[in-house]
């Protein structure tokens, strides 16, 4: 009896131990969950209380699903959903977040089985697969009927989600890349902050100057990254990711290889953490913990940087440095689309339309979630955090190059690109060899997709 009691106690202790491990693992998320709930209600309160239709509502109550991949934008999306439900009390919106890393895997399983969310975020690179298979609902007749005007969106974003003359998506936001810098590290070293006169040579020079590898502090995070990484370097240096008609890779062009080598050189010069260090701890996380003086990051990630107590109020944004040929920058626009197999298509359309409205754009902007696509609402985003120079993202949009998606082969080569380049970044093969391998792989993927 005594023995049994003892073993129960030990088992209980074991269970507690495991539970605490599990809790520790979830700690990060639950924090964000708390933030999300808090800001969501705040956002809801600030949006005008919509007039509720009086009297008995004959419409049946439905709940539609809305799936997104960025948890930093969840509060704003919740606020939009709440504003929508205030105006359409019979339609509730359930928001699910699937992280980017799993998002397209889950969607590609959901698409053929007809279980896509009613409304969800779409990326230009993935769009064609979903449109050709008719997994997402065309909205052309709604556009023709004037229910929505795709001319309302900035920078021609309305045309991204169009295939063979059919419209499928409504622009949500756009993003460009900026140079985030830690003011404190610049001040300590007595170095002036980055500005629009900087070129890549200056970036490298200051990065070296600010690095103190023995203290774990580095000038720049030369991370293995495309959109918020070396694609900008490549464009600035006159190289290409793809040629203009998207039939050939630009990775084996000398200008591309030169740009890649220049970025890798920062690791060699100890002006950046090594690839392995940045695999252990993501470069953005290093920046957030004050270990990096500079990093390229997307406008979509400002909320993430701002969430760090360590660098809050100590960082700001500058434009990307100029290259030999131009100031490189990638602009990408996300869209909202709806499933063609949804059970509540009419309600989903109402929500999709609302997501494309000025009101939704204003909520997105005010809550600082992302740069809304709706013309004239960008200023509200810039002002959402007046102490930060968010204007750089809007200014750079004018000359930015569209994200090189929009081909059937993109999802294949994009996934393989990271794998090959990680061999180069980790030092297993040379950067030149890696770039040439990527070019070969991309050309093969383009040929296979024909």
């Amino acid at each position: 009896m005594n023995v049994r009691k003892k073993s129960t106690a030990v088992t209980a202790a074991g269970v507690l131990l495991v539970a605490s491990l599990a809790l520790a693992a979830c700690g990060g998320n639950s924090n964000n969950g708390g933030n999300a709930a808090g800001s969501a209600s705040a956002g809801g309160a600030s949006s005008p209380a919509a007039s509720k239709p009086a009297g008995g509502d004959p419409k049946k109550n439905v709940t539609i699903s809305y799936t997104i991949w960025d948890k930093n934008q969840q509060p704003a999306m919740e606020a939009i959903a709440k504003a929508f439900t205030d105006q359409n009390p019979n339609i509730k919106v359930k928001i699910d977040v699937i992280p980017w890393g799993d998002y397209w895997t889950k969607m590609s399983a959901a698409a053929p089985s007809g279980t896509l969310p009613d409304v969800f975020w779409m990326h230009g690179g993935q769009f064609i697969k979903y449109a050709t298979g008719k997994f997402i609902e065309p909205i052309t007749d709604k556009v023709t009927a004037g229910e929505i005007d795709l001319g309302n969106y900035a920078s021609n974003l309305g045309s991204i989600y169009t295939l063979d003359g059919e419209n499928y998506g409504i622009p949500k936001d756009f993003d460009t890349i900026g140079l985030a810098y830690n003011k404190e590290l610049f001040d300590t070293a007595g170095v002036p902050y980055p500005d629009d006169t900087w070129d890549y040579a200056k970036l490298a020079e200051v990065a070296k100057q600010l690095s103190q590898p023995d203290k774990g502090i580095y000038g720049f995070g030369a991370k293995l990254d495309t959109q918020a990484g070396y694609w900008n370097d490549i464009l600035a240096n006159g190289g290409h990711i793809l040629n203009d008609d998207m039939t050939k890779s630009g990775y084996d062009e000398p200008a591309t290889i030169e740009a890649l080598k220049a970025r890798y050189q920062l690791i060699v010069d100890k002006a950046s953490p090594t690839h392995q260090q940045m695999t252990d701890t993501d470069a953005v996380e290093m920046f957030k913990s004050g270990k990096l003086a500079m990093i390229f990051d997307g406008s979509w990630d400002n909320g993430n940087l701002a969430s760090s107590d360590i660098i809050k109020g100590k960082y700001d944004w500058a434009p990307l440095p100029k290259g030999k040929v131009m100031r490189g920058n990638i602009i990408n626009g996300l869209g909202n689309v709806m499933s063609s197999k949804g059970k509540h298509k009419e309600e989903s359309w109402q929500f999709l339309k609302f997501l494309g409205s000025k009101e939704a754009a204003e909520i997105t902007a005010q809550m600082g979630a992302a740069i809304p696509a709706f013309t004239g609402t960008q200023d509200a985003w810039v002002k959402s955090q007046p102490d930060l120079n968010l204007q750089v993202f809007i200014d750079q949009a004018a000359d930015a190059v569209p994200y090189p998606s929009g081909s059937k082969s993109y999802p294949v080569w994009f996934a393989k690109e990271a794998e090959i380049m990680s061999q180069a970044w980790g030092g297993a093969i040379s950067v030149e060899e890696g770039a040439k391998k990527v070019a070969e792989m991309m050309n093969q993927a383009i040929a296979d997709a024909k």
Partner: protein
């Protein structure tokens, strides 16, 4: 009476396995809704793919390192914990804990243990090894995690095996003057062989399917990935990242064949070492 289980097995196990074999002969488009018969084309591509052979070698190396280590250590701990020692049940719970730990949570802890700069392992050993991103060490790191997770359950199986060995045998041996290691060698080990046979079959099949620790600990941008990538990881990459289910299916079909051969071989070999009384 067995219908519910049988239906479950057929629908969730047998049908996917058969469908996988079928998929290996197709070229699918449109998320698998349009399929075209291509015969052995996927296998031709597979056999010409150097990466496939590397993945196969990685998988076999993992099996070769993981299975014997797990069996030896599980047996060792089972024998230790079968003895009448103080706090025996506490030890049993401790060794069994990894079994009930969430794999993802454990992986996070292991990543910290293996970290090059501030990792526990390096500070204990006084080394500065990039355990999970140096291709010379990554495989050993994975084996370490695998063995750690597997010892608990296999120890339990072996413990059960130990307890089914009749006491009088030991008493008789003691009368004949057998002690310690000799008792283990001539009584425990032979009578434990049926259990060890079973555990080795299950461990080999499990080890050929290593995936989660590679996914969680190594990660896809790790420079050491090619040195540890298993067949199942390659299957995952091809099927779910590169959207090539057919090539992925070809990979796991080969793995199925390998498992059939390995298991068949083990059954053939059991005559040589397994003692059934």
């Amino acid at each position: 009476m067995i219908a519910p289980t049988l239906i479950g097995t057929l629908v969730f196990w047998f049908w996917p396995a058969i469908y996988s074999i079928y998929l290996g002969f197709l070229k699918s488009e449109n998320f698998g809704l349009d399929n075209r018969w291509v015969g052995l084309a996927n296998y031709e591509r597979l056999f010409k793919d150097g990466e496939f052979w590397q993945n196969l070698r990685n998988t076999m190396l993992y099996v070769a390192l993981f299975v014997p280590t797990t069996i030896v250590l599980s047996t060792f701990f089972a024998v230790m914990l079968n003895a009448k020692i103080k706090g025996r049940s506490a030890y049993r719970v401790i060794y069994f804990l990894p079994q009930v730990t969430m794999a993802a949570a454990a992986a996070m802890v292991w990543v910290i243990i293996f970290a090059q700069d501030y990792g526990l392992l390096n500070s204990v050993l006084g080394t500065h090894i990039a355990w999970i991103s140096d291709k010379r060490f990554a495989m050993y790191a994975l084996v370490m995690v695998g063995v750690w997770a597997a010892i608990g359950f296999n120890m339990l199986l072996i413990l059960a095996g130990l307890q089914s060995i009749p006491r009088p045998l030991y008493e008789a041996a003691e009368l004949d003057g057998a002690v310690g290691i000799r008792k283990f060698r001539w009584i425990t080990l032979p009578l434990l062989t049926p259990t060890l046979f079973f555990t080795s079959i299950v461990l080999v099949i499990g080890a050929t399917q290593i995936f989660d620790s590679i996914y969680l600990i190594i990660g896809k941008t790790n420079v050491a990935l090619p040195a540890v990538r298993s067949l199942v990881y390659a299957y995952y990459q091809n099927s779910f990242i590169y959207y090539d289910q057919n090539y992925g299916a070809a990979i796991v079909n080969i793995l199925l064949l390998i498992n059939l051969i390995l298991t068949g071989f083990q059954f053939l070999m059991q005559k040589k070492w397994v003692v059934y009384d």
